[in-house]
């Protein structure tokens, strides 16, 4: 914990970061005053889920140097397995444990699929490629994305496979806004998963080993860490988180081949804003982007929800190329 505090306090010394945080707070207050509290609640729910998808993206980049273009497709896998499991459990739908079983299954499917992809693709590449790792893996993930999207179409078709809601109880009221139970569920799942990820990375033996690999690979080998296994695990965790997010948001994002596009865009915006490879920053930036989207959607029109964040990110990048919280990015990562 002290570490996180140390780092945060260091980051707040930068005027750009402080200015940006102030700007976001101002935006939040403005949104709430002019638009209503629902903007805040809305941003909290989506922000939490985006943070989950983006944290995985940041983790894969930080540990493996893989800028994953297929992250959205693992979200898609989550929606799909969520849908398949949930409909398969139709006999017992309505039982309170069913949604939990559903998202857990999605997590497992995403995790296993991620591990397989790493073993089949990235581990093979590690043995062969000496230079241009980052860009080459990026292109490979583009291929993975194409394969996954079209495999979905090939096997399950292009129609929307969604559910109305996991929970059909009455909405609860927060800050004068009524929030559907599914959204409460979503934000709780996201909060628990982020806390879990944070605990895993900060305090567990495996989490430390993952961080060790991201900080110094030969060093990790020297203390006896099976570096290859840690990479596989990292990719599996990040795919699992994306799938979990997808299953959790199934009520809002019915499964179809291209459902991953939106989460992919958002996750990348978040990660670039936070600085590539910065897992903690990704969580914060997830909320910033969600707030920005909610405000854009309300004040300018939902068609511009995507455009404004993209344009803004490019501007932020022009001022701070390493992202909001990024430290000087190491040269290996820029290949």
């Amino acid at each position: 914990m002290s570490l996180a505090v140390q780092r945060l306090s260091r980051e707040f010394r930068s005027p750009v970061t402080t200015g940006l945080i102030a700007g976001v707070l101002a935006l939040a207050i403005f949104g709430v005053v002019r638009g209503g509290t629902f903007i805040l609640v809305d941003s909290l729910v989506t922000g939490a889920i985006w943070a989950l998808v983006a944290a995985g993206l940041a983790l894969t980049f930080g540990v493996m140097g893989v800028p994953n273009f297929a992250q959205g497709e693992f979200f898609m896998v989550g929606t799909l397995s969520g849908y398949l499991v949930y409909t398969a459990l139709s006999g017992v739908q309505g039982r309170p444990y069913v949604p939990f079983v559903t998202i857990l299954m999605a997590l497992v499917v995403g995790f296993v699929l991620g591990a397989l992809v790493d073993l089949a693709v990235f581990s093979q590449m590690r043995r062969r490629i000496r230079e241009g790792w980052v860009m080459n893996t990026f292109v490979v993930t583009v291929g993975i994305s194409v394969v996954m999207i079209n495999a979905h179409q090939l096997i399950w078709g292009t129609d929307y496979k969604g559910i109305v809601a996991y929970f059909d109880g009455p909405p609860i009221h927060v800050l004068g806004v009524s929030v559907a139970l599914d959204r409460v569920f979503a934000i709780s799942v996201a909060a628990v998963s982020i806390a879990g990820l944070w605990w895993l990375l900060s305090y567990s033996r495996i989490g430390r080993a993952i961080r060790a690999v991201s900080q110094d690979e030969p060093g990790a080998l020297m203390v006896g860490i099976n570096v290859g296994r840690m990479r596989t695990l990292t990719f599996a965790i990040s795919s699992g988180l994306a799938a979990l997010a997808g299953a959790t948001l199934l009520f809002q994002f019915p499964s179809f081949p291209f459902v991953g596009v939106k989460p992919l865009y958002v996750a990348w915006t978040v990660v670039i804003l936070a600085g590539l490879g910065n897992v903690g920053g990704a969580v914060v930036a997830g909320f910033i982007i969600a707030l920005l989207e909610a405000n854009t959607g309300f004040f300018i029109g939902s068609a511009w929800e995507d455009v404004v964040p993209f344009a803004l990110i490019v501007l932020i990048l022009a001022v701070r190329p390493t992202g909001l919280f990024g430290r000087a990015v190491r040269s290996v990562w820029e290949q």
Binding site: S2, L3, Q6, R205, R208, A209, R211, A212, Q215, D216, P218, G219, A220, L221, M222, V223, G224, I225, N226, V227
Partner: protein, 236 residues
């Protein structure tokens, strides 16, 4: 304990180590000396499994470990303190030491190693919550040695501990190594600081351009004309 036979190694098309053989017995403190670019670090990395040998055999306690992956070599009880140290700069001193004991399952054993490292380098105990990236050069070196000791190795490989240290600190580090050796740890040390090294070690090998040109007891080497000429700067 360690026996290297006819080892060939290099990078890409470039061969750096040409058929060298060396041996370190249980409890010995042995030095590998030589000028820059001789291939000393490459030899250590081969033993530690960070560079794959091209040819030849590396045997540790009678088992061949040539070409074994670094993490597995570490698991067999070989600790490496590399030239660049390879610390986890974003972790605290304590976490780095903990990572050193990554493959030690018993908490009790880890605690004892930690106490031992802190008694060897009290400085590290003071710096426990500090990020490794913010340590001074001397402290980093201590941390790297400490981290390697945390795994409870039976053979310690140390690459140029005197690099970039003031003479006084070098002496401290050497004293620590000597103490470890006296306590029974087997050590293979790579050094360029020939005078100080020969005063401390039992035996030494001299490596030049990838080949062993001299070997013998510390006594014998410090009297050798070649060593005097080239390394000690004594005018004949």
């Amino acid at each position: 304990m360690l026996r290297v036979t006819e080892l060939d190694a290099g990078y890409g098309f470039l061969r750096v180590v040409h058929g060298i053989s060396l041996q370190v017995n249980q409890g010995e403190l042995v030095a590998l000396l030589g000028p820059n670019g001789a291939g000393k670090s490459t030899t250590l990395k081969c033993i530690a499994g960070l560079v794959r040998p091209w040819k030849g055999d590396i045997a540790f306690r009678g088992h061949s470990i040539g070409g074994l992956r670094g993490d597995l070599v570490n698991g067999l009880g070989i600790g490496l303190v590399s030239e660049s140290l390879n610390l986890f700069t974003g972790m605290t001193v304590y976490e780095n030491l903990l990572m050193g004991a990554y493959s030690v399952p018993e908490a009790e054993k880890r605690r004892r190693s930690l106490d031992f490292v802190f008694s060897l380098f009290p400085r590290l105990a003071e710096r426990r919550p500090q990020l490794a990236g913010t340590l001074s050069g001397g402290e980093r070196k201590m941390l790297a040695i400490g981290r390697a000791l945390m795994g409870g190795p039976s053979l310690l490989l140390v690459d140029e501990p005197s690099l970039g240290l003031a003479p006084k600190l070098t002496q401290q580090v050497f004293d620590a190594l000597r103490k470890l050796s006296d306590d029974g740890l087997t050590i293979l040390l790579v050094e360029q600081n020939v005078t100080a090294t020969l005063e401390m070690v039992d035996r030494a090998y001299v490596l030049e351009q990838g080949e062993i040109v001299l070997e013998g007891s510390a006594q014998k080497l410090s009297e050798s004309e070649h060593v005097k000429d080239v390394y000690l700067g004594v005018m004949a």
